[in-house]
Amino acid sequence: MTGDTVTRLVDQDQVRRTVARIAHEILERHADPSRVALVGIRTRGVPLATRLAALIAEYSGVRPDLGSVDIALYRDDVAAGTMPVVGETHLPFPLSDRTVVLVDDVLYTGRTIRAAIDAIFDYGRPPRVQLAVLVDRGHRELPIRPDFVGRNLPTSAADRVRVRLTETDGVDEILLFTKERS
């Protein structure tokens, strides 16, 4: 960790505008927000989904359903000794009658999304699943593509992207940690 350079790529104000734009885009694609369920992937997808739901309600007057999914039990690397903390999954709406929009902070390899889709399908069969992310940093390892993207941030696989949100971290910002070349 020492020797990393930290760059703030996106600040508080830009995060706010980016989230607002995603909310507009979701509305554009869904005439009836009451048939949409925003499902945040723990941890930082949850506050993002909450914000999006509030914004969509503000713009359209219709509040979409809100849920959360925990993927700890669906990860493909439990066997590799990661012991993820198991959190709650909460999907308080009829999945068979909703377009699920999965919400996460950073899209990277796509493995988290694969796990989230598996988790959702153990609860029911939504007619459609879409994906909204604040940051797409590339380097996919699975054929997964986001439907709504806040920012495309091309990075090296050695870099790390960290989204910090007021609800979880006290501030809205997107940071890039770059390995220092020696």
Binding site: L73, A79, M83, D118, D122
Partner: protein
């Protein structure tokens, strides 16, 4: 493969460990409430349940716990296996270990046998009851049930009543409850109350059944005929039932009753009380399932990795 952890005695677990396992159990209880009661978490893992002693609840729930987590589960019973042909514990373990299981769940009639068995395998070993010694997952499911129904463990008073002498349930239970800040009493006839070890555990002891009045929860212990031989521990079961059997007549309002099963109805617990919906017996069975899922999940992941992950996020936050 890194060295695996095991669960041999409940004393191996700290207060934090126990809390983590009970919290995990609650998550798995949610999984059990779904239409699809199975998660892919332990896919590709192998669990061998090795039971040298009979069991319904523990064996079934360990098997189901493994299957709900998508592990491959194999059950080996002493009857019908090479154990009947005189194979030693060591050789049985070495044989099964050669199949490279990730977890060996072992029940044995001899105290200390599970700890001994753990020396012959790299697999994580879970004690599913070793003689009069310990039954750590029973203690965990009892704590889980108590926390869920009473809302707390700290300050709770649990009285174990009856055959304390032969009871691994009382022993592991007492250790676990005290770790969590609960108070424990052993109440039994003198012949069934091991004074020395009870005092070593730091529990209250009494021969007087009236002392259950102080307890929030009365835990009726099974009379273990199979471990008594011709011992003459009690004059007769009927007399024991009259003097120490738990029934509605002995309980005050709000007192809850537990029993680890199998029950001797009409001996340590009356028929009517066993069927009373306020008795926690069925809740204990349900708790056993999810707590055993928690233990398997916990053993098959590496806490070291969590610690380093915490460090990373901590450093980023700093």
């Amino acid at each position: 493969m890194s060295a695996r952890r095991s669960l041999i005695g409940i004393g191996d677990l700290s207060r934090d460990d126990i809390t983590r396992l009970l919290d995990l159990g609650e998550r798995f209880a949610e999984v059990m409430s779904r239409d699809i009661k199975k998660v892919p978490t332990l896919r590709g893992r192998t669990i061998i349940n090795l039971f040298f002693e009979s069991s319904t609840r523990t064996a079934t729930s360990f098997e189901l716990a493994g299957k709900r987590l998508s592990a491959d589960v194999i059950n080996v019973k002493a009857s019908g296996s090479s154990v009947e042909k005189g194979e030693t514990l060591k050789d049985t373990i070495l044989t099964l270990a050669a199949y490279k299981p990730d977890v060996l769940v072992i029940r044995h009639a001899a105290a200390g046998a599970v700890a001994a068995a753990a020396r012959y395998t790299d697999a994580a070993v879970v004690n599913a009851g070793d003689g009069k010694h310990e039954h750590p997952t029973q203690a965990l499911l009892d704590l889980y049930t108590l926390r869920k129904t009473m809302g707390r463990l700290e300050g709770l008073h649990v009285a174990f009543v009856g055959d304390v002498l032969h009871s691994r349930v009382a022993r592991s239970g007492a250790i676990a409850l005290q770790t969590m800040g609960a108070e424990v009493s052993f109440i039994a006839p003198p012949t069934l109350l091991p004074r020395g070890s009870a005092e070593g555990l730091g529990v209250h002891t009494s021969y007087d059944i009236a002392d259950i009045a102080d307890a929030d929860v009365v835990y009726a212990l099974r009379m273990q005929h199979e471990r008594m031989g011709e011992g003459g521990f009690v004059p007769s079961l009927r007399e024991y039932a009259t003097q120490y059997g738990i029934g509605h007549h002995r309980l005050r309002e709000g007192q809850r009753v537990m029993h680890a099963g199998p029950m001797n109805r009409g001996v340590e617990i009356t028929d009517q009380l066993a069927d009373d919906p306020t008795a926690l017996v069925t809740a204990q069975v349900e708790g056993g399932m999810v707590v055993r899922m928690a233990v398997l999940y916990d053993l098959l992941s590496d806490p070291q990795a969590v610690r380093s992950a915490d460090v990373v996020s901590h450093m980023v936050a700093a």
